[in-house]
């Protein structure tokens, strides 16, 4: 069973599933009230240099209020995994990122990310490449508790060459297979439709890679549109996509994905996204945007007031 190729990208986080097991064993299994403010959650659980990730993608169900708090507290040298539009752009715009397990960071219909360009082209941020499913599969491997997962993406390309994947000869079929190393996050940030005070969480619509990332995170901070009674969870246990024992903090955050969307609840705020697209073009205007929406507001409530209740309500599905 030969190793045919090894990607030369740096592996920013070791797939140490045994250490992950030890960590998970120590997480509390009792039903503990985990509600706290974003300031407290980010302050307690995110450290400079941590390997973090966000879910979902493309301004859809993104943990914007949590990421804004990370920016506000200036957590730095972050090793960030994933794909992002607005939420990862904020971290890059604030120069808080040291490495990227990157698959896609851009502004979708509005083009490339200027923040990404500035940070990477200057050499401040180092990138290891993956595909979208590649990152999700890496979370899946960690969620399974195994150090790698075999896939048929990335084969034959520079994406693989600049990744930390390996190609082996399949011991059952003899064909080349790509093995992706598990990606265990120090901290995962996920925004959900509803959760109870213990962290049992439900999501409506597409699930993205929430199930996988939640299970791949040593520490998991949830923000939620609303807190619901545990009885709501117990009535429909098959809707629990994230069980409480994975969760370390539950932060109530209505409009927590704004200016992104939350399916069935509110649409995305196109003017504000365009405001960011414009602002992100230069460091100075980027800074001004961050001042306006993050540094100069105390918390998510103040942010929502700055945006304006009337404007927010207009985004709601009736």
């Amino acid at each position: 069973m030969e190793i045919l190729q090894s990607g030369m990208g740096e592996l920013f986080q070791a797939p140490d599933v045994n250490a992950f097991r030890e960590w998970n064993r120590k997480k509390p299994k009792g039903l503990v009230d985990k509600r706290m403010t974003a300031a407290e959650a980010v302050g307690r659980f995110i450290h400079d240099g941590d390997c973090i990730g966000t879910e979902l993608y493309g301004t859809v169900r993104c943990p914007v209020s949590l990421v804004s708090e990370v920016v506000r507290q200036g957590k730095k040298d972050l090793r960030v995994a994933g794909q992002g539009v607005y939420e990862l752009d904020l971290l890059l715009g604030a120069s808080l990122v040291r490495t990227l397990d990157i698959t896609y960071i851009g502004l979708e219909v509005y083009g490339v990310s200027n923040c990404l360009r500035r940070e990477v082209e200057s050499g401040r941020v180092k990138c290891t490449e993956w595909s979208n499913a590649g990152i999700a599969w890496r979370f899946k491997a960690a969620a399974m508790g195994v150090p790698f997962i075999p896939v048929r993406s990335m084969l034959g390309t520079d994406t693989l060459k600049y990744s930390a994947a390996k190609v082996i000869e399949c011991p059952f079929t003899g064909n080349p297979m790509c093995l992706l190393p598990a990606l265990i996050l120090d901290v995962g940030l996920i925004h959900v439709h509803r959760a109870d005070i213990y962290g049992n969480a439900q999501i409506d619509g597409i699930s993205g890679f929430a199930a996988e990332m939640a299970r791949a995170s040593k520490t998991l901070i949830l923000s939620t549109e609303e807190i619901v009674p545990t009885e709501t969870i117990r009535q429909r246990p098959d809707r629990t996509i994230i069980p409480y024992y994975l969760v370390d903090a539950v932060v109530e955050a209505p409009f927590g994905s704004h200016p992104g969307e939350m399916c069935y609840v509110y649409r995305r705020d196109e003017p504000q996204i365009k405001e960011w697209v414009e602002a992100s073009q230069t460091p100075e205007t980027t800074r001004a945007y961050l001042d306006k929406y993050i540094y100069q507001v105390r918390d998510h409530v103040e942010y929502l007031e700055r945006v304006g209740r009337q404007r927010l309500n207009a985004l709601r599905y009736q």
Partner: protein, 260 residues
Amino acid sequence: MQSQNANPGGYNPAELLICTAARLMPDNTTAFIGTGIPMLAASLAQKMHAPNLVAVFEFGGMGAILDKLPMAVGEENTFHRALAAAGILDTIEAAQRGFIEYGFLGGAQIDPYGNLNSTVIGAHDHPKVRLPGSGGANDVGSHCWQTIAIMRQDKQRFVEKVDFITTPGYLSGPGAREAAGLPPGTGPYRVVTNLAVMGYHPQSKRMMLLATQPGVSIEQVLENTGFELLVADTVEENPPPTDEELRLLREEVDKDKLYI
């Protein structure tokens, strides 16, 4: 672009690309759809000849009825009255299992074998331009049976060698995909541009001009290609968008003028 002036009815380059791509989508098949032109093309195809075209969106939406246009890959409209709303691994694994026939791709550069670059211009570790990266492109290009690239055509984009192979085309040529471990029988199918529609030579796997867009000459296509483009024995000229296509596109598909 030339096409706008060449057509008395008047349509813009985006409308031309959308109509050209829509015609490539048969009914009762599955297609991975990305934001932008593929989305509009899929919606138009559903309203024209392919009511049972199954649109699959990477982050989980399958079989949506595309009444409204999404602005992002995971938006509610990607699973509006869909048959299933799952997660990214469910859709990509369906592709890995052979269930997805067509995939749509874009990129900053394409080479004669259909390899695509959406990662960097210049060297990876000292890039001139850092582009967004693979996203789902590599997955779509690895697993779908047939991929269709939609791009603007010029010598900067159609190059002999891409700076970075983000997404596999035929790699270095015949047999290379299979040797790399990619599923046999998969690969690039068409390239749709403002100037032409291209396919690939069945043996050499090199890009080959099949049809020009309305009012575009073969020479114009060759002049805007940075590598030796094969030319089919018979090169058709695509018919321009029909009145009905344009009406559906403007009045129903993109009635809020988000894209066109």
